[in-house]
């Protein structure tokens, strides 16, 4: 499924730069990145560690702001947004999947999945209904009341994907989603992400250093030394 031509790009970055102060020395993690990711794309960002791919990911996820350059997420310039506006943008347009799952340990799968809806002000009954639907969609309809420790790594990552999906985001950002999983579970997670992209038109941007994972994407952006080295479709 392709998004209508009128929809703004999911991400549009112009000359993105990000530098950090580390022990008084400025470290440039991104040195001028231009990129455009259309809605509904399936993109892998590839690069060695220290290449700046994680920094790029954080900028796209609105967890961080560029030092200079312009970033538009769903057509909105993030520089114009307040802290609260940025949080709202994260909540409504982006779903995160992390390498280490980041589930709340003492909380059931259902409540973990429902968490983004809490910050959207959705009532408890509706949260549960939607969280149950999202868990069923990733094949965990039978694990609603389990806590993270009672589930396998693959199951935990599927809970995390359900959490990313529950708010109907425009984009799912996945940071090394298979990094902590064995091959079989990793493939399963990739199947879910690919299916999500193909069936629901949700853009998927994943950061990985594994070529076979990157191969599942329709577009691969290679990052090195804070710049885009290669952009292959």
């Amino acid at each position: 499924m392709t998004a209508p031509a009128t929809a703004p790009p999911a991400f549009e970055g112009e000359n993105l730069r990000r530098s950090y102060q580390a022990d008084g020395v400025a470290v440039e993690a991104l040195r001028g990145v231009d990129l455009c990711i259309e809605s509904g794309e399936f993109v892998a960002i590839i690069g060695p560690s220290g290449s700046g791919k994680s920094t790029l990911m954080h900028l796209l996820g609105c967890l961080d702001r560029p030092t200079s350059g312009t970033l538009r997420v769903g057509g909105v310039d993030v520089a114009t947004l307040s802290e609260a506006g940025l949080a709202e943008l994260r909540n409504e347009t982006i779903g995160f999947v992390f390498q280490s799952f980041h589930l709340l340990p003492r909380t059931s799968a259902l409540d973990n999945v429902a968490l983004p809806l809490v910050y959207r002000g959705v009532g408890a009954a509706e949260r549960r209904t939607r969280a149950r639907a999202a868990l069923t969609a990733v094949g965990l309809g039978h694990r609603l009341t389990h806590r993270p420790a009672q589930m396998s790594g693959g199951e935990q990552q599927r809970v995390a994907i359900a959490r990313a999906l529950v708010g109907d985001p425009k984009v799912v950002l996945a940071d090394e989603p298979t990094g902590n999983l064995d091959t079989r579970n990793g493939a399963e997670v990739m199947d879910i992400l690919a299916g999500l992209n193909a069936d629901q038109g949700v853009a998927v941007v994943l950061v990985t250093h594994e070529p076979e994972v990157a191969a599942r994407a329709s577009r691969r952006i290679h990052v090195r030394d804070g710049r885009i080295e290669q952009d292959a479709r």
């Binding site: 967890l63 802290e83 709202e88 994260r90 992390f98 980041h102 709340l104 968490l115 983004p116 910050y119």
Partner: protein, 394 residues
């Protein structure tokens, strides 16, 4: 995020760390408990003293030489019976004026002895003070005029020296002099630590001779009504100062006594409450400390919540509610234990304790305020965490 969600998150966080939450609350519990109990004791003491003063009788004016005030030095008495006669003329009604001179002595009956307060006074005692008789009679004018060796005993003196025997008409010895008991007072309790049931009243003339004195300690006057107190007081002081030029005399009323004692006890209660407040402060610092630890421990969780759309305000609210919940639960427990403790103290010890609504409300309000005050810094720290760094935290 709705307030209810924030509340549920906070209760969940406290429930997860039960022992830690309980220990943190302990500091607040002790602080609030101390405030409630000390205020109760202060209030109880004040009530007790006020009822003692009221129990003396009504509309009494006490005249003593010198000036009365907190910190004033005691003055050698220059008052004598002639002054009392002068005051009687100034008052206009001799029966509303009485005198006293007192000394601690040992009284003996056979082998029994008791250390008593011998008070030389006159027949006007019952006109001015609330001093009902259990049996016998009061001192009479003739007793005073003819310097009789008669005595009216406080209830405790009577039971100590005579036991079950009726003391009326029997003999007792003070400093080798024999006295005949003519009356026994009813039990009245203590006033300002003066055990009035251990008093023995004898005619003032007899007392002066027995003690080798010509002075008296003070003069007491009974006004006919509250409106007469102030003019009468001024008249009596003026009369005495006219008689003894250059000297000062003081006439204190019950209202003045109540005011003075009330302010002294109020100050005492204030100091005690301040000390209790310090322990509450320490409890608050404990809450702050634990909240900082909690924020550090849950850095990843905070990062995650932010990634999922929590605003700074949402995180701030969550941690602030947690801190306020800690101190409020601690405060309520402290109030419950404090009220229980105060009632127990009042019931089983001689220390009076009175629970007042304002002290309970104040303690509750302060424990909420302590939570806000000491919760703000940790909650702000949590709210301002950088989500990227927080997600990476170990």
């Amino acid at each position: 995020m709705r307030a209810r969600e924030a509340f549920l998150m906070a209760t969940e966080a406290l429930r997860v760390n039960r022992l830690r939450s309980a220990l943190t609350m302990f500091g607040v519990i002790v602080g609030v408990l101390a405030v409630v109990v000390l205020v109760a004791i202060g209030t109880g003491a004040k009530d007790a003293v006020e009822s003692e003063i009221a129990g003396l009788g009504s509309n009494i004016i006490l005249v003593v030489p010198g000036q009365i005030g907190v910190g004033a030095l005691p003055t050698q008495s220059r008052l004598g019976l002639a002054d009392a006669a002068h005051v009687r003329r100034a008052v206009g009604d001799p029966s509303r004026v009485t005198v006293s001179v007192a000394s601690g002595e040992t009284m003996r009956v056979g082998r029994n002895e008791a250390f008593v307060t011998i008070t030389g006074t006159d027949e006007n005692i019952p006109n001015i003070f609330d001093r009902p008789l259990a049996k016998g009679r009061h001192l009479s004018e003739t007793d005073v005029d003819t310097r009789r060796r008669v005595a009216v005993l406080g209830s405790e003196v009577a039971s100590r020296l005579f036991g079950d025997i009726d003391p009326i008409g029997r003999q007792a010895t003070i400093s080798g002099a024999r006295f005949r008991v003519v009356g026994v007072y009813e039990t009245v309790g203590a006033t300002f630590g003066v055990a009035r049931d251990q008093e023995v009243h004898i005619p003032v003339t007899t007392a002066q001779r027995l003690l080798g004195l010509s002075r008296i300690n003070g003069i007491a006057i009974g006004a006919t009504g509250p409106d007469e107190i102030e003019p009468l007081r001024r008249r009596v002081v003026a009369a005495l100062e006219e008689r003894h030029p250059g000297e000062r005399f003081s006439a204190v009323t019950q209202t003045q006594l109540l005011g003075t004692i009330g302010s002294v006890l109020g100050m005492l209660t204030g100091v005690l409450t301040a000390i209790a407040g310090i322990s509450l402060l320490v409890g608050g610092v404990g809450v702050s400390n634990i909240m900082l630890v909690s924020v550090r421990e849950r850095t990843r969780e905070i990062g995650l919540r932010k990634a999922l759309g929590a605003r700074q305000r949402d995180v701030l609210t969550q941690f602030l509610i947690e801190a306020v919940l800690l101190t409020t639960i601690g405060g309520v427990l402290g109030i419950l234990v404090g009220v229980g403790g105060s009632l127990l103290i009042d019931a089983v010890t001689p220390v009076p304790a009175t629970i007042t609504l304002w002290s309970v409300l104040l303690a509750f309000g302060v424990s909420v305020a302590v939570g806000v005050f000491f919760g703000v810094a940790p909650a702000r720290r949590a709210a301002r965490l950088d989500p990227v760094a927080a997600l990476r935290a170990e």
